[in-house]
Amino acid sequence: MINGVLHPKNVVAQLVQHGVTHYVTLPDSETANMYKALVDEPSITIVPVAREGEAIPVAAGLFIAGQNPIISIQNAGLYEAGDSLRGLALGIGLPLVMFIGYRGHNRKGDTPDSAAKFLEPYLHMWRVEHFVVESDDDLDRVPLAFDLAKKTNQPVAVAIGTEYAKVDSEAEGSEQE
């Protein structure tokens, strides 16, 4: 059973634990609170991009320079970034964890939002493995994504299937160990 809440500070703790250095992102409404939480994390540099297609190439450059980036974009932006995913992640064997805002996702499966309907078929088409995270209870999937990306030298998606909780309410949330 899930508690239905995903606290940004718990995700940030996962990123710190995995030595993430840069968070390349185009913010979306689902992940806005994650952005706020990261602003207060000194070990991770936020790299804002103007369009989602830039995120994977910027991350590739960072990795080439010895850094450990992830990206965070919305599902609709991932579609725009298709050629970058092809040429500069899958094509070069980039071990990249991609946090994807799962806009329109619900647990009933009857979402009217095509951005949600297409996400998992789209990832399957590209043969990108993915994990869905809907609450703090799912955060044990994040290490699996990092491990799989490193093991296969391929991008792996973490689909964020809920809005992050507000940072101000985190004191009431349970800490993920």
């Binding site: 840069h22 390349v24 540099t45 790299v47 804002p48 991009v49 103007a50 369009r51 297609g53 830039e54 190439p57 910027v58 991350a59 590739a60 450059g61 960072l62 990795f63 080439i64 320079a65 010895g66 850094q67 980036p69 050629d83 970058s84 092809r86 040429g87 500069l88 899958l90 094509g91 070069i92 064997g93 980039l94 071990p95 296969t152 030298n153 391929q154």
Partner: protein
């Protein structure tokens, strides 16, 4: 009018140990004269994204000068990169834009609005400085000082168009070569050879 060959030669004279991220027509001229192949990457298999890859390298290794040898057709396809670069403001980033007004690789079709002045756009976005050259003498004399100033800097070079006709290379050998180049550069920059195989080409 400046030729690709002359522009690459002059840039190379001031290169030092800068990383070079190049794309499109200038790739063959740069690769022909470069004496640091382990510091070169050619983004032929992801049109428009050379500047984004170069930005990542510049942010990831702030002590290393990074050259991006971009083209105006590619830049137009990823125009937001100018704002992204200006926003991060890497002092080690030098963005060369080879402007010939056409899509050379596909046969010479004009780009939309061939009169765009990319140096002005870069300035408006917030680059530290931007320049535009259409004669080789000025480029040759001014480039060393420009490269001594902090980035991000955009250097637009008006070049003589070289549209490719029939027989253009469509073998896409760069698809297979790029992963090897990227691994060689990571090895050079980090001193470690830890990026294993993955993907369709390696």
């Amino acid at each position: 009018m400046i030729t690709y060959a002359d522009a690459c030669r002059i840039i190379n004279e001031s290169r030092g140990e800068a990383v070079s991220v190049s794309t499109m027509t200038q790739i063959k001229y740069w690769n022909a004269i470069s004496q640091e192949p382990d510091l070169d990457i050619s983004i032929g298999n992801a049109m428009s994204k050379a500047s984004s890859v170069a930005l990542g390298v510049a942010l990831g290794d702030e002590d290393r000068t990074v050259f991006c040898l971009d083209s105006e057709g590619s830049l137009l396809m990823n125009f937001g990169t100018l704002a992204t670069i200006a926003g991060m403001a890497p002092k080690n980033f030098y963005h060369f834009v080879f402007n010939n007004g056409i899509y050379a690789v596909t046969g010479g079709q004009p780009v939309p609005a061939p009169g765009v002045e990319y140096s002005k756009v870069a300035e408006a976005c917030g680059y530290a400085s931007a320049y535009r050259f259409d004669d080789i003498e000025s480029l040759d004399s001014e480039l060393p000082d420009i490269l001594g100033s902090p980035g991000p800097v955009l250097i637009e070079i008006i070049v003589k168009a070289e549209p490719q006709g029939e027989g253009a290379d469509q073998t896409w050998e760069s698809n297979a070569a790029m992963p090897l180049q990227l691994r060689a550069l990571r090895k050079r920059l980090t001193g470690t050879d830890d990026w294993g195989p993955g993907g369709p080409f390696i």
